[in-house]
């Protein structure tokens, strides 16, 4: 009897030991990340030269499976319904464009398919895109000016129906809406801008689709004959196709003109790319790439550990997965993390009576220890992460200068001094007050754990400076409240790009996305000059002036860039490009 009573207890203890052991997970705790220098070098494509990119000679390999967070949904990523990064990740090597971005977000002319992109007139600004002859889609049709014309016509969205609504549903019209396009010949697209547009290199990069497919299936004889004054029935036919018929996957409608072509699709699971036999450039890289969606980051990491995948790519960083992947260094896994194109920041609402006082804003900036926030929330993923020093430039951009370093030192004593000198006095509750107004306000944000932790850290840091920060967590904050300016301080992220034009509507007086009621005349003037240039290089000086003026207004405080992270095994070089994902140079991948 004693024996039988003891047995289940022993079984239970033994089982529990096994369970607890396994629950703890495998893997070591090595902090190695595959060598920063090597990973940093991978940001540059092997085919890059001073004047552009040409696919290099590359040893060909077999199948490679790559994971990412979310599934591919559409071949036409330029529509408002479909637009998402995960489509871009799959299409970057399928739909070539005029330029590509390397891992450092440097804009590079795609010389495999382009002869040149030049400003041929400054007033009015005229840009000529010269396409290379002999480039074709995988179905044999030419990749030519018709495709550029369609990209312009659909995204300029200038045609209106009788009721005032528009035919096409582009995700954005920026740049295209300023342009009038025409095909001079099969290889020459000319765009004439109604206003100067220095960011023209941001156009025709990942939105050039096969016009011949639309013509054939929508019953349009020649897309280049379509304009805003064409017969409504013709425009409607084109719009019906462009808006929805390229969603999901239909092989015959979705050829590739890049080094790869889509050959398979399993909804919500994966999309398959194979080398394009009609690719005009040098063939290379894996014969087949399967881009597989695995939403759980740790599951992605474990699949890499288990040899099911060769590459993990995470647009959303995850500390647990990062720790797991660093621990696999000894098994030949290289882990990489780098700053992405979105950045967390704090926006001050200028209509708030407390924050309308400049000394409060100055003291608030001064009390925030940004590096401390980064160390606690980001460093596990990206160990070299630093506070961001600009609202306009990313640290790797030409023209970047840290204009916030001396304004946000994380120095509570200095913050107290600023308030005291401005006539504020610390009350019995430790919070500064002046004329019955307390230095107290809310930080509003959506219900994301990282943001809640950020606010908790700021609360503690600013309490030392006599500033009371309240947490306002609202799952729907980004829905109506942020655009209505219903906040004291807003914590959210802006997604940027190497092109600066989009910043104007955020920071200019009365701008469409200036929800914080910011008014900085010096910045307005500088931004006006910046966007009136016809080349990015000419506009940088003015963007720098705007950046400095914005910093001096103490209206927005950039915190940090959200990191991207990735890991790979068995390949020579993989780098997660913030905008195009891991596959941006997969044609250069070679097995080790």
């Amino acid at each position: 009897m004693r024996r039988t009573k003891a047995l289940p207890a022993i079984a239970l203890v033994a089982s529990a030991s096994l369970v607890l052991g396994a629950c703890g997970g495998g893997g070591g705790t090595s902090d190695a990340d595959g060598g920063d220098a090597t990973v940093a070098e991978m940001a540059t494509a092997r085919g890059e030269s001073a004047d552009g990119y040409t696919a290099p000679e590359t040893k060909q390999s077999d199948q490679v499976v790559v994971s990412t967070d979310k599934p591919f949904t559409s071949y036409n990523n330029a529509t408002e319904d479909a637009n998402q990064s995960y489509n871009t990740f799959a299409l970057t090597l399928v739909q070539p464009g005029a330029h590509l971005l390397n891992g450092n977000n440097k804009v590079i002319l795609n010389k495999d398919v382009m002869e040149s992109v030049e400003v041929t007139s400054k007033s009015p600004q005229v840009v000529t895109w010269k396409l290379k002859k002999g480039v074709s889609w995988s179905d044999g049709e030419a990749w030519d000016c018709d495709d550029f014309y369609m990209a312009w016509f659909t995204q300029s969205n200038s045609s209106k129906k009788a009721d005032g609504t528009k035919y096409f549903k582009p995700a954005g019209t920026t740049g295209y809406d300023l342009m009038t396009g025409e095909c001079k010949d099969d290889q020459t697209f000319v765009g004439t801008f109604s206003d100067p547009y220095p960011d023209y290199e941001d156009m025709f990069n990942n939105d050039v689709l096969p016009a011949h497919i639309l013509e054939k299936n929508a019953g349009i004889a020649d897309i280049t004959k379509l304009n805003k004054d064409s017969a409504p029935a013709d425009i409607q036919k084109a719009a019906d196709f462009w808006n929805e018929k390229w969603n999901g996957f239909t092989k015959d409608l979705m050829p590739g003109a890049g080094s790869y072509v889509l050959t398979g699709f399993e909804p919500n699971q994966s999309v398959t790319l194979e080398r394009n036999p009609k690719w005009v450039g040098k063939p290379g890289g894996p014969a087949k790439i399967i881009l597989k969606a695995i939403p759980d980051p740790v599951a992605q990491a474990q699949a890499l550990e288990n040899g099911e995948l060769a590459v993990n790519s995470f647009a959303q960083p995850d500390a647990n997965a990062a720790t797991k992947l660093k621990g696999l260094n000894a098994q030949g896994v290289t882990f990489g993390a780098g700053p992405g194109l979105s950045f967390e920041h704090l926006d001050i609402q200028f209509k708030n009576p407390v924050l309308a006082n400049e000394e409060i804003r100055k003291a608030f900036f001064m009390c925030i220890k940004r590096q401390d926030i980064i160390d606690k929330l980001i460093s596990e993923v990206q160990s070299d992460a630093k506070p961001m020093g600009s609202l306009i430039f990313f640290p790797k951009d030409e023209g970047y200068k840290d204009v916030y370093g001396d304004k946000a030192k994380g120095d509570p004593a200095e913050a107290k001094k600023i308030l005291t000198e401005a006539g504020w006095a610390q009350g019995a509750d430790g919070v500064f007050a002046k004329g019955g107004t307390r230095a107290s306000f809310r930080i509003s944000h959506t219900d994301i754990p990282r943001r809640k932790q950020t606010v908790e850290l700021i609360q503690g840091q600013c309490k030392e400076a006599g500033i009371e920060v309240k947490d306002d967590t609202d799952p729907n904050f980004l829905d109506e409240r942020v655009s209505a300016g219903d906040y004291d301080v807003a914590l959210f992220a802006w997604s940027g790009s190497p092109f600066k034009g989009g910043k104007k509507s955020i920071y200019e007086t009365g701008g469409g996305q200036n929800w914080q009621n910011l008014t900085v005349p010096a910045a307005d003037e500088a931004m006006k000059k910046a966007v009136s240039q016809t080349a990015i290089a000419d506009s940088l000086k003015f963007w720098s002036e705007a950046d400095a003026a914005l910093a001096n207004s103490y209206g927005s405080l950039p915190l940090f860039q959200m990191p991207n992270m990735w890991a790979f095994k068995g390949l020579d070089r993989v780098y997660f490009q913030s905008y195009y994902g891991a596959l941006w140079n997969a044609n250069e991948w070679q097995t080790k």
Partner: protein, 332 residues
Amino acid sequence: MIRYIIRRLLISVPILLIGSFACYVLVATAGNPLAEMRFRPGVTEADIKAAEISLGLDKPVVVRYWNWLTDFVSGDWGQSIALGQAKTAVYPAVTDALWTTGRLVIGAELLALTLGVSVGVLAAVRQYSIFDYLATSTAFLMFSMPIFCVAVIVKNYGIQFNNVLESMGLDRWLTTAGPRPGGFSGSFGEVVFKYTGTFLLPTVALMLISFAAYSRFERASMLEILHSDFVRTARAKGISQSRVIFRHAFRNALIPVATLFSLNFGAVLSGAIITETVFGWAGMGTLLVNSVRQFDPPMLMGWLAVTATLIVLFNLIADVVYGILDPRIRLG
């Protein structure tokens, strides 16, 4: 019986209407699926308003629900309205997800039922034996562990097992992240190798959880029956032990397990959310979570329609099985 089934189906109609309305309102009012549009460069409030009108989001939620309902009963399941989903058609999305989940759970549930009932019967027949204690301990352990933990443990051991295979010069067998893209190809042996390797880990994880419940229910039910008067009478009449157990007791003891199986099977078909997440299978659970996260009522309604139908169906099956297992139970 037919009348009973028709009556049950008719009763479920108002329940489904109320349930679907509640779900629709909860998701539709929880957030705006177009909120992220505000953060796209160059998008104006006018663009957002136009998109809202195009998707019908400018209408009151009751009107939207009614529109969905009238479309649905006429066979139009609608399209996703979530940003980035490219207006995915709801019907194929839901049926794809159901197929994914079905492939996972059917094998797991049948295995769990077979194993659970067998272990339950044996544990009851050999009450207080070592086998009974071991079965009880295992079942309670599985019962008390979070599903997440079971799945992670199974996965970790799976990866270690693969490492052992590899160290012996063999191919890695078990996969941890969803079905193989492109399905299974090769010789018969290769297909079997790949198929079992793909399904084994999630199936085992799901099976362990369900097994615990089935074995406990079967044991308890079997013990009750074995101590009942008619079993005592049967034994007194000299009927053999095996005949008493399998002919008389087992059949009656299956009734509560049949109920549990029917309810459980319907529920897991609606989505084994945690197991799907851990093993990277985009099934019904993933569809539900994404629909709610993206404030996508059409997709959620598609999920609900299938799930509710399955629950009603399996409840009916349970009722019908009662009558088969125990002829004294009459439906009417």
